[in-house]
């Protein structure tokens, strides 16, 4: 009797958790550990002969100029997009928490770009930068629109930043709105009676009260930007001269175009460590906020 109860419990355990565990083990856990193993080998992905190279791939990474450049690009791009998309998202949220009549329509419009996948977004903007901007430049004569947007390293960088802001600001706006509507009205009114200006209220009441949302939004933007791939692939393909190649795109190119699977997995491992540090920081900060709330 006792043993049948035990086996019943195990059958339930397998029925409830088995399918998810098996799929996860094969698709995520196994490749994760295999990646660690392969990163010590010279391997082209096709042939069975793996040549052990020890830490060779890792030393190669730090001499790989393309990888280092992609890392520098990704860092600069992350700083720019995290600051700007949060700024835009926050300003939009402030606007939409005022009693403007069109706020529901506006919220829909600002959020809309976010539901379109990065690959399609990049293609849409490729057309706008190449053809749309020049048409606007001809009509208005504004020099800004006559620049060779995707053909020059500096403007291509800002091009990718602009598209990323356009796609993510609405999402961050939604997070800020849900925090802003919970700021107590009586606190704002009391401050107004005491003669606080709008700027003072924003700095000393609103911002401190919505800090939890700021933390979430900052780190969401951080982890999206760091892993950026789709938008860059379709907008610039990493060009011109690899100047907009992100780390994710560099890994993809190394493995699937240069067929250096061993080196690719080593790069992927380095990438994982960096992203893990960033994302753990995100989880840790979000959790520390839960305790206070």
């Amino acid at each position: 009797m006792k043993s049948s109860g035990w086996s019943k419990s195990w059958i339930q355990q397998i029925v409830f958790t088995g399918p998810a565990t098996v799929a996860f083990a094969i698709i995520v856990a196994l490749p994760f550990f295999m990646g660690m193993y392969y990163s010590f080998f010279d391997w082209n992905g096709v042939s069975d002969n793996l040549k052990f190279v020890g830490l060779g791939n890792f030393t190669a990474i730090f001499q790989d100029e393309a990888f280092i450049n992609s890392f520098i690009f990704t860092s600069k791009f992350t700083v720019a997009t995290v600051i700007l998309s949060n700024l835009v998202g926050f300003i939009l949220a402030l606007l939409l928490t005022q009693p403007v009549k069109s706020r529901n329509v506006l919220r829909t419009i600002f959020f809309m770009p976010n539901v379109i996948g990065g690959l399609l977004l990049g293609f849409i903007w490729q057309f706008i930068f190449i053809k749309g901007f020049s048409a606007v430049g001809e009509k208005t004569g504004w020099a800004l629109f006559n620049l060779p947007w995707l053909g020059d390293e500096t403007t291509a960088f800002w091009g990718v930043v602009i598209v990323t802001i356009w796609s993510t600001a609405g999402y961050l706006m939604v997070i800020y709105i849900s925090a802003l509507i919970n700021v107590p009205k009586d606190l704002m009114e009391a401050a107004s009676i005491d003669g606080a200006t709008a700027m003072q209220k924003l700095r000393h009441i609103t911002v401190p009260l919505i800090m939890p949302a700021v933390t979430i939004a900052l780190f969401l933007a951080l982890s999206w930007s760091f892993k950026s791939f789709d938008i860059i692939l379709s907008l610039t393909k990493g060009g011109p001269y690899n100047s907009t190649q992100s780390v994710a795109l560099n890994i993809y190119t190394e493995a699937f175009q240069n067929n250096n699977y061993g080196l690719g997995t080593a790069k992927a491992l380095v990438f994982f460590v960096i992203v893990a540090i960033i994302t753990s920081l995100q989880v840790w900060l979000t959790k520390s906020r839960e305790v206070q709330a």
């Binding site: 958790t17 998810a20 490749p31 990646g35 009549k101 399609l120 997070i175 994710a248 699977y261 990438f271």
Partner: protein, 276 residues
Amino acid sequence: MEQSRYRGTTLILEIIGVLLALVFLVPFYFLVSNAFKKYGDILLDSAALPNPWTVDNFTRAWDIMSFPASFMNSLIITVTTIIGLAVISSMAAYRMVRHSSKYNNLLFAVFVAAMVIPFQSIMIPLITVAANLNLTNSLSGLWFAYMGFGSSMTIFLYHGFVKSIPLEIEESATVDGCSPYGVFWRIVFPLLKPMTVTIIILNSLWVWNDFLLPDLMLGEGQRTIPLSTYAFFGQYTKQWDLALAGLVMGVLPILIFFLMLQRHIIEGITAGSVKG
């Protein structure tokens, strides 16, 4: 009072808001208006409205992209994935909460920890594993891969929600002779509905828009919408008339989905990101 306050600063804010919205919509204007133009007209002036209008681009892109097939592939993989993930993840999360043994706590910790692994850092060995298990070149193989990748976050979200469900209802059902499976499917799963809606939305947007995983797993013959758009763009570089029509068709289904369910989508995304 409200009225007089509205007329002042709020009117200015309203105007600013509408102007900003127009800036956000400009890319859509360029996309749609040029998709209806002849190639020469696009080169001549891409900012003008189409004159004359043509739907020729759409009929040609529809055939070249084999749009109905890509659309069906995208739809099948998205629908089966969201169903599969909701089923396996809610069951796993339920078991982990209600039988929090050492083993189950460790299992949950592993699922959560894996959320930090970026796709690009395991995609290379994944392709080797998938090829050896015959998971490549088929929608069912792709579906299985989504089960593995999606389960972490889906279990994490369900786990938090199951904890908030009172145990008493389940206990009384068990006393009345209901099996553990009956308790879950008849009592617990319906109570998880708000979280299921959030999860369906988050997973639909992810799977529908995903490019890299289907790109690596599916063969030439099978394409989802992002894949066929990518191939189409590569083939017809600078043939803007065809490319833009293809893009409009690619964007339309997800935009319609969003506009129809926008309240749920925005709420679901807020709930998912604040808890995640």
